[in-house]
Subunit: 243 residues, 6 copies
Amino acid sequence: MTSDFLRADGRALDQMRSVRITRGFTSNPAGSVLVEFGNTRVMCTASVEFGVPRFKKNSGEGWLTAEYAMLPSSTHDRMPRESMRGKVKGRTHEISRLVGRALRAAVDLSQLGENTINIDCDVLQADGGTRTASITGAYVALADAIAVLQAEGVVPGQPLLPPVAAVSVGLIDGRVCLDLPYEEDSRAEVDLNVVMTESGRFVEIQGTGEQGDFGREELNQMLDSAEKGCRELVAAQKAALEA
Amino acid sequence: MTSDFLRADGRALDQMRSVRITRGFTSNPAGSVLVEFGNTRVMCTASVEFGVPRFKKNSGEGWLTAEYAMLPSSTHDRMPRESMRGKVKGRTHEISRLVGRALRAAVDLSQLGENTINIDCDVLQADGGTRTASITGAYVALADAIAVLQAEGVVPGQPLLPPVAAVSVGLIDGRVCLDLPYEEDSRAEVDLNVVMTESGRFVEIQGTGEQGDFGREELNQMLDSAEKGCRELVAAQKAALEA
Amino acid sequence: MTSDFLRADGRALDQMRSVRITRGFTSNPAGSVLVEFGNTRVMCTASVEFGVPRFKKNSGEGWLTAEYAMLPSSTHDRMPRESMRGKVKGRTHEISRLVGRALRAAVDLSQLGENTINIDCDVLQADGGTRTASITGAYVALADAIAVLQAEGVVPGQPLLPPVAAVSVGLIDGRVCLDLPYEEDSRAEVDLNVVMTESGRFVEIQGTGEQGDFGREELNQMLDSAEKGCRELVAAQKAALEA
Amino acid sequence: MTSDFLRADGRALDQMRSVRITRGFTSNPAGSVLVEFGNTRVMCTASVEFGVPRFKKNSGEGWLTAEYAMLPSSTHDRMPRESMRGKVKGRTHEISRLVGRALRAAVDLSQLGENTINIDCDVLQADGGTRTASITGAYVALADAIAVLQAEGVVPGQPLLPPVAAVSVGLIDGRVCLDLPYEEDSRAEVDLNVVMTESGRFVEIQGTGEQGDFGREELNQMLDSAEKGCRELVAAQKAALEA
Amino acid sequence: MTSDFLRADGRALDQMRSVRITRGFTSNPAGSVLVEFGNTRVMCTASVEFGVPRFKKNSGEGWLTAEYAMLPSSTHDRMPRESMRGKVKGRTHEISRLVGRALRAAVDLSQLGENTINIDCDVLQADGGTRTASITGAYVALADAIAVLQAEGVVPGQPLLPPVAAVSVGLIDGRVCLDLPYEEDSRAEVDLNVVMTESGRFVEIQGTGEQGDFGREELNQMLDSAEKGCRELVAAQKAALEA
Amino acid sequence: MTSDFLRADGRALDQMRSVRITRGFTSNPAGSVLVEFGNTRVMCTASVEFGVPRFKKNSGEGWLTAEYAMLPSSTHDRMPRESMRGKVKGRTHEISRLVGRALRAAVDLSQLGENTINIDCDVLQADGGTRTASITGAYVALADAIAVLQAEGVVPGQPLLPPVAAVSVGLIDGRVCLDLPYEEDSRAEVDLNVVMTESGRFVEIQGTGEQGDFGREELNQMLDSAEKGCRELVAAQKAALEA
């Protein structure tokens, strides 16, 4: 797909922002990754806890849970800190749940033993696509954490499944744009987030007509673009893990 | 689509449960509807408040917001009451936000004046599809509330847009099933919720591979089935509003 | 007692509003009742949980607890949802505790085994007397739940005691009025809630001089009227349970 | 009423514990009273705030509100501090509301100007009857606070009404006992709290069959005893205010 | 140190306010003390609980924890009640932690058995120095509570260590003033709180340049004055315990 | 001061860990700094908000407030997220308040206009000294934010005061050690945090005998060491600001 339509950052319509995945970003968690999609920067960590939540007790299986949050200073205008407000916003809850579901698709819980993996995605700098960057980076942190578990002999099996990555696509002035920065996201007619496996199958799709509805045709074009993006992200994940 | 596969309730794969929409279910809110998808029963109301939230002040536009909740006794095993726990669960937040977005697609805020419509969807009995029933019923409550506003001369314009309805589709043992009750929902490989306009365009799609991923082909079959369901739901909405 | 004083709804001073008790209103809880006192409608359910709270552990006895709440759209002007405010109002707490005490007078905890019955009273539509309707309806839900427990052989003894019912009485312009709707309640000088057993003995009386005090004489007249109301309510409870 | 029945503290059945009312207990609030009913000790204060809550704005009237709380170390076994638990117990809410209603019966809000009086009743030592001691002591603090307001010329009229006092009565082994300490309260069959004006009229009665129900005859005997108690309490209030 | 500088209450610069320590102030806790530093009055109690928090389980040692709070009416202008706001202020947290650390320096946890001592410091009247009065009074309550434990044979060893006391010092118009009342505290350039053992060693020092910084020389002068104050406070503690 | 005592990381007793201050770490806040004291890494930002809190309204002055928090994955064992627990820990509150006081000593509020500066210190990786690193880094972020305000012509005067820096000192096995990493901090007998101005005067000192008390002599040695550390930190701050 080519385009004479100019995006503010000069990208082609179906071009990802520059993606960087830095492993070992911090040293305390078993896996710690800084993921960057352009100016969006998220610290993704995977920590291991012995034992599982009550509903998994004595199942012989492990569990994975995730929490997403934005630092108060990550956004253009500072956001009030959720811990000080005493409650978590609906958007935060919603994304935390999405990240958890996405990453559970990348781990075989039956191979994990009764251990819990806590994924934390803390947004240091927000410029659109924080949830998709979170998922993409968290997979790499998860892989590192599982490798630690295996090296320590704690995990009996092979819990890591092939990569899962995520990207956003939007419809702006009727054109399908891949990987939206904040400026595009805020004026997109439609916003679609896609979580995909390495083999190109969907783990989750969430499409919202923020300022307009969309038809099957447009959906298909957006899914094509998302597939291209996810393919590139999986390549970046694999490159990072092989580095 | 026909099928020799038997669902527990004897329905065809692409057959909705019996849908009932009862207007005027209670008398205090401007719009009050009991919506039933089989055994799922949700009380949907639309209440009008003068004024708008701060971020809409002096915009000349109105606002619509929604809250979804399950009564503690609505589920098979009683759930703790969220007000007593002191916090709202992530799932509740997530669905409240979905209902709000979906219903905002059915109202022209610029025609509403600086008034706020509060949608409340309280689940009396849960048997799967509570969020899709909520959206479908809330549209009818919204229509009634706007009619009240217009009759009172409060609303200057024509804020009501054509119907928006929602349905769930799932993949169970590889087959596409429409409008899942709890028993099916809990064992579906994939769960897709679709919010659609009367003209068959998407307002929101949320598909999750709860226990497996899915391909483009399966997505398309699920969307076909959802479209059939939504078409029938819109017919039910219009019938209810004309009654 | 006869009267030429006209109430807005044409009732005699000592006449109850029309009372309806619908069993099996929803199907998940062991007991589920819709109770109506005129326009006041409350969904009362009784759910059974195995085990008892800590202070009853190893007592050989069961426990009964109750929660009362108003749906946000149940009142004339929509009320903020308590779960979203993050705290329960004093009035809600107060009524929940009253309902719990009243219903514990209708169950022999020593015959219940170490099981807990959760009573939920959710007001769908409020027009005065929601707490007394809640108590009256909850007894019927309790009876149904205990019958289920007995049918399942879970409960060793005969925990159900004779009916307990409740009614409000008020002093309006110096006249004793039975079963106040909201319009009367809001301008009553004195408001008295009475919980009574089938044999006419008090379980609880709460009388408040909202806008004036009251003497022994007036108290006695109000109690006479309440007794008449409760007698009729017990008859309605028994009729519902025999239906 | 005389009695050969011996209470643990040697009192006659209709005899109050020793009552002490100390004005000026602390110096910051406009009114500050330590009230003692035997070993029960409550610090009751009345503080004045300019302005009224929103629902009273521009009414030309004042408002009175009350908060009751137990210090964590006031009870035999230390209670968790409500501020640390992050929520207020139902019992606390219930008593705060009772104290507020009772004291509002002792003030003519229309004479108060748009000022708010905050009553705080903090239990230093609990031995039964904390809510009735709170009401009785708070009246004296209220009187002192209103005198301050009048001395300062802030209050235009005569807002203070004649005394309101409160006492508990119980049925223990079938006998009516006045002013129950904790040991009696915890084993009483029936517990009745009565708030009464100087002229012997009821402001509030709350009777609960904690472990049994009660008939009209018993109620009347309990009310007789409460009336005697309240008469003595009003005398103590007046003596304190004249001291 | 002498001075011709006049403090509002006529004290010399290095003179404590009048200190009173009243043991047995209330009767339910094992130790209960009213401590007064001039007009500042704090009720300090020590309650004993069997068992220890999780992080001390099976350590063979005990634990001590402390909570500090101000009654809403303790200050010149009434403060909102923290339990009603649903959260504890930072200042409250900070002082509670200080009191806990200070008192743990006065108890040998290894001699306490697996018991927990809860210190509660509730400010009845605030006039500066509430945290230092709290620590000073709490030591006496702690001593009484430990004596009770020993009398009951619950505590195997000698857990009580020599006294710990605390005092504030400030720099006002460049002069070192001991034991600041509120009026001085609010205009001090520097505020220093010192917790000291009987032998004159520091347990904690917290110095803050509220409205200006300070040098080593001034620090040393303030520490000299604090040492004098603490010596007098320890004498008062010992006198109280011997009374 | 020289020493043959070996610290785990080979430092001399009075030697700081390697300190790095990176300006412009993120781009949304007016000032954004990554500060590193060895393995401790804190992101410090300064964001500007128009207007001031209520207690500063119409004072003509500005305000500065600070929030400190640890990311859940910043510690060796993952900590629960405070926003999810619904309340902020006492330690967090305490450090936030300390950072705020320290930074207010570096700004002339009367020169700021009625603007508020929000300091956020979010710990990415914790290895002791997070509060002192926070203060040291936050000064640089503050300087950058004020420069932005001045460049935009928003701030009338010269609000920035000379640098404020902070360091910890501890007593370990009786020896004074500067700038403690976690391993040393957890076994130090005494822990002293010092906030100092460029001119070597104290803004705040907090010394705690965590596992033992300390005398004047030891305090003086610790203050000497802290002074050396702060001098070096101020040099690092100035070097960063000149870079």
